[in-house]
């Protein structure tokens, strides 16, 4: 590779607290304009900020989940700049004493992307430009954000996407944000520069904004890396500036919007007292964190023996994982439980949201009851799947659908008789199997399944059929 990519990502995440960071207004999305407001979040003269405890707690959760060191003493700073969506003409943020520092995220390859810092700050309002007017809605003003800054350890577009994906997964897992890029609850800005391999110095870097999905992160990194490479190849120098990613043309162009060279004149906000948290409280918060997705994934693969793909599908969603583990605790077998979840249950859920929510009508115990029947081979997989579907639709337990009589297996003798019957009834298929068209055996299976109402043990049947056909 001619140039090395040196990339860091700054992520802003909206915290899912009930109230804004400095006032008791709701953070609920939507709502008529300027109906979730008060003197504090609209910057009225005489108003004062009052810090929300949950915001600090959630930020610490994020820091712990990202292996950061937590600063037990912290304060807020004012970042001064002028823009109509910023009612006080300053944003209360953190400059030199962020709440969390020096953590990392581990990629699948084992490579660690460093997390420089995590700090808390307030969001601004929303501007709408229309017919010669600018309209302002301050409902979003004051919504709490954490800003997560990575070290420039990312060296490829794929890594960039993976970093953001994992970040999103973790934040959702610990329940502090729904991290939806399209809705703006997670915003990523990419910083990128190039250098020749082996060169210890950093090249000039640009910042890319307006990236609205994980895929676009990957594309934006590629587009900008190419753009910079072209400049360097031609002997030119990269200009340090803020860029805007355009989805439609998959290109990056300079952004002329905000003044990026504004002097923010940071100073400690005199209205917000310095705050501290004791180590015992930090440990309490740490203890309240769920097992994180990658630890789960490792455990599922290494200890439970699931395939990587299946393990990923289940561990990705906290509620699914909890359901799965709950069923295992009730005695369900690993393989069947996992397959029924990613097969039947997931076939009822088309979107990420549904899997995140995992709103199903049966409990882990009820699911386990069904799974155990399949484990014990009292019913076969096909029956299990169909029954599960009925359970999901009705919310009724397995006993409603599978009566004890149904569980009586087909005796071996009965099975042999049926096999012979199947062979007699389907001479063409038998001939096909003998001549090498092995798939024709399905015809016999179908016959036997029809005759037994799906209750036959397919593997036994297969063994018998082959023996008989071979004769």
């Amino acid at each position: 590779m001619k140039y090395e990519i040196v990339c860091g990502i700054e992520t802003h995440i909206e915290l899912a607290t009930r109230t804004k960071i400095f006032c008791g207004c709701t953070t609920e999305f939507g709502g008529e304009p300027n109906t979730h407001c008060c003197p504090v979040c609209t910057g009225q003269p005489g108003s004062l900020p009052i810090l929300n405890q949950k915001v600090v707690e959630y930020a610490i959760k994020a820091g712990l989940a990202l292996n950061c060191k937590i600063n037990t003493k912290s304060h807020m700073d004012r970042k001064n700049y002028v823009y109509p969506d910023l009612p006080k003409a300053y944003q209360i943020s953190q400059y030199d004493e962020p709440l969390c520092e020096k953590g990392y995220i581990e990629l699948d390859s084992g490579k660690r992307i460093g997390i420089t810092r995590i700090h808390i700050e307030e969001d601004a309002g929303k501007l709408v430009h229309e017919k010669g007017f600018t309209f302002i809605d301050y409902n979003r003003s004051g919504v709490p954000l954490i800003e997560i800054v990575s070290e420039p350890d990312i060296s490829s577009a794929e890594e960039a996407k993976e970093y953001a994906e994992k970040l999103q997964l973790i934040m959702r897992y610990i329940g502090i944000s729904d991290c939806k890029m399209q809705e703006g609850s997670m915003r990523c800005d990419v910083n990128l520069s190039l250098r020749k391999p082996g060169d210890p110095n950093f090249g000039v870097r640009t910042e890319i904004k307006n990236i609205n999905s994980l895929t676009f992160i990957q594309k934006a990194v590629m587009a900008e890396a190419e753009r910079q490479a072209d400049i360097l190849d031609a002997g030119g120098t990269v200009v340090q500036q803020t860029m805007r990613y355009d989805e439609k043309t998959n290109s990056v162009a300079p952004m002329r919007d905000k003044e990026s060279s504004e002097d923010y004149r940071y100073f400690p906000d005199p209205d917000v007292l310095r705050f501290c948290i004791d180590d015992a409280k930090v440990e309490e918060i740490r203890a309240s964190l769920p097992e994180l997705p990658f630890d789960k994934l490792k455990r599922y693969v290494n200890e439970l023996g699931l395939s990587d793909a299946t393990a990923r599908q289940i561990s990705r969603y906290r509620k699914v994982a909890e359901f799965f583990e709950g069923a295992l605790a009730e005695g369900a077998g690993v393989k069947n439980a996992a397959n029924l979840i990613v097969g039947t249950i997931f076939s009822n859920m088309n979107t990420e949201e549904e899997k995140e929510l995992f709103d199903i009508r049966i409990s882990p115990a009820q699911f386990a009851a069904l799974v155990k029947l399949a484990d014990d081979k009292k019913i076969n997989i096909g029956v299990a799947q169909a029954t599960l579907q009925k359970m999901l639709e009705s919310g009724k337990p397995v006993e409603e659908f599978i009566k004890p009589e149904d569980l009586v297996g087909i005796s071996d003798g009965e099975l042999e008789r049926l096999c012979r019957e199947a062979i007699e009834a389907n001479p063409r298929a038998v001939a096909d199997v003998r001549s090498g068209k092995d798939k024709a055996i399905n015809v016999m299976f179908g016959y036997i399944m029809r005759k037994t109402g799906g209750k036959a043990d397919i593997r036994k049947a297969e063994a018998l059929l082959r023996k008989l056909i071979g004769q």
Partner: protein, 486 residues
């Protein structure tokens, strides 16, 4: 002597006078005198009479708080729901907050009767009240002189008996200095003793709201009513002052250790020095022990104050851009231009100077040398005050190095005016309480004020010392004849 709060409260309860009658008397006086004195900039007579009627009902029911039915005034930077609050600035023309400052909420609940909002230096930046958009208030003691600032209107209103008491704000001396120029009592409480919610901010780490009154007892009564922790102001402190500071006012000062720091007397007018000296002698005669102390850091308290206050102000005033409230420039070609023009047309010169200084000391490259350094020196000043209060119960100092300036005094540059804050700003930097009480007059008949400074949250001792002095000294300045006929 003029009727103070307690006496009026007594008359109200004895039915000698009703709150409505009392309010009308003040309204008449304001209508007569305010056109000249310009102490009030917004009048609220209609709501005042409504409040007075309500207060009379509360009084009839019995058990009404002491401030019930008493007519008063608020400085124009204290938010009053539905009533004009403009900081005497063009940029807040027409602004009516839809929320009350906590102090006003408390007083309203007690049945206070608000006559109007008083004149002040624009955004509380100044020491003469001449930077007001509505023109300067005149010193009732001598209308050719200033009232002092920035709570000049509040001081003038109390001096001229156009209000029984008023609230002002003090960031670098803005209650105490006008109190001393007008010959009334002014108390700046400990930082955090009174909620700042609803006080339009100037220097957030220095601002405090406090009473201007005609007696120390009245200052104690009003402070009792407005103090207290407020969950809407995180910087307010939950300090247990006990049931009432009024009840503990009378105290023999024998043995009280009074510190006198020479740094406070550096370069002050000799008449003032003599007057304060006389007051100190009186206290000593009554048993107080005078301690000569040093507070070396006071020498640079002034630039420290201006750097910190202006830095905070430059940030606090960023929000005035014509978008959500106040004045908006009528013509412009872009939103950015609208903002620049609105601010340039809406702010007066002194405000602009302070915003620029604040921007400068926070800007990249200068932050360490100015703002950060000033904050470190501030901590040193606090340490020196702490050390001094190990040896002393209170400090006595002049309130100002001079008496009132003549109006429109062209000689003074901005910095010269800043220098006149030398006695008051250290108190704000340290966050301690201080009161100014009249202690004499100069040869022109202008009042001289003495400052009594105490430990944090020790308003009790400050008020006791001030009250004792007031009682012992007797009449130190001439009576003001005029104002409400009650």
């Amino acid at each position: 002597m003029r009727a103070g709060i307690s006496e009026l409260a007594g008359r109200l309860r004895n039915r000698e006078i009703s709150s409505v009658e009392l309010t009308r008397a003040y309204i008449d006086a304001i209508e007569k005198l305010n056109p000249t004195l310009n102490a009030y900039v917004h009048l609220t007579f209609d709501t005042a009479l409504e409040a007075a009627e309500q207060a009379d009902r509360m009084l009839a029911e019995g058990d009404a708080p002491v401030l019930c039915g008493i007519p008063m005034a608020l400085k124009d930077n204290i938010c009053t729901d539905g009533l004009p609050t403009t900081c005497c600035s063009k940029i807040l023309t027409g602004f009516k907050p839809y929320y009350d400052a906590t102090v006003w909420e408390k007083l309203k609940r007690q049945g206070a009767v608000l006559l109007g909002k008083t004149n002040m230096d624009e955004f509380a930046m100044g020491s003469t009240s001449e930077t007001s958009f509505y023109g300067a208030p005149l010193n009732p003691r001598n209308p050719e002189y200033v009232t002092g600032g920035s709570s000049g209107g509040s001081a003038a209103a109390v001096c001229a008996n156009l209000a029984v008491y008023s609230l002002g704000s003090d960031t670098g001396g803005s209650i105490r200095q006008p109190a001393s120029f007008c010959g009334v009592v002014g108390l700046k409480p400990t930082y955090g003793a009174v909620s700042r919610y609803g006080l339009i901010a100037y220097g957030s780490s220095l601002d405090q709201i406090g009473p201007l009154t005609s007696s120390v007892r009245d200052a104690a009564i009003v402070f009792d009513a407005i103090k207290g922790v407020d969950k809407r102001d995180q910087t307010s402190v939950d300090f247990d002052y006990g049931p009432s500071l009024v009840e503990s006012l009378d105290r023999d000062i024998a043995g009280m250790r009074i510190g006198v720091a020479e740094e406070f007397f550096d370069g002050i007018n000799p008449e003032i020095e003599a007057s304060i000296g006389k007051a100190i002698a009186l206290l000593e005669k009554n048993g107080a022990r005078i301690e000569n102390i040093r507070i070396p850091a006071l020498k640079i308290a002034l630039p420290v104050y201006y750097i910190i206050a202006c830095a905070e102000a430059s940030s606090n005033l960023g929000r005035y851009d014509g978008i959500r409230y106040g004045y908006r420039t009528p013509s412009y070609t872009s939103i950015d231009e609208m903002i620049v023009k609105t601010r340039s047309e809406g702010f007066g010169d002194e405000v602009k100077r302070r915003i620029m200084l604040g921007t400068y000391v926070l800007s990249s490259g200068y932050y360490d040398a100015y703002y950060k350094k000033a904050c470190l020196i501030r901590e040193e000043i606090i340490r020196e005050f702490d050390a001094v209060f190990e040896k002393c119960d209170v400090l006595v100092a002049p309130t100002a190095p001079n008496t009132a300036f003549p109006l429109n005094y062209k000689g003074a540059s901005p910095v010269e005016i800043y220098l006149s804050d030398i006695c008051t700003v250290p108190v704000n930097i340290a966050g301690v309480p201080a009161i100014s009480v009249p202690c004499g007059e100069d040869s022109r008949g202008l009042p001289i004020g003495m400052q009594i400074i105490g430990r944090k949250f020790d308003e009790a001792t400050v008020l006791q010392a001030a009250h004792f002095y007031e009682q012992a000294a007797g009449k130190v300045i001439g009576d003001y004849k005029g104002g409400a006929a009650i």
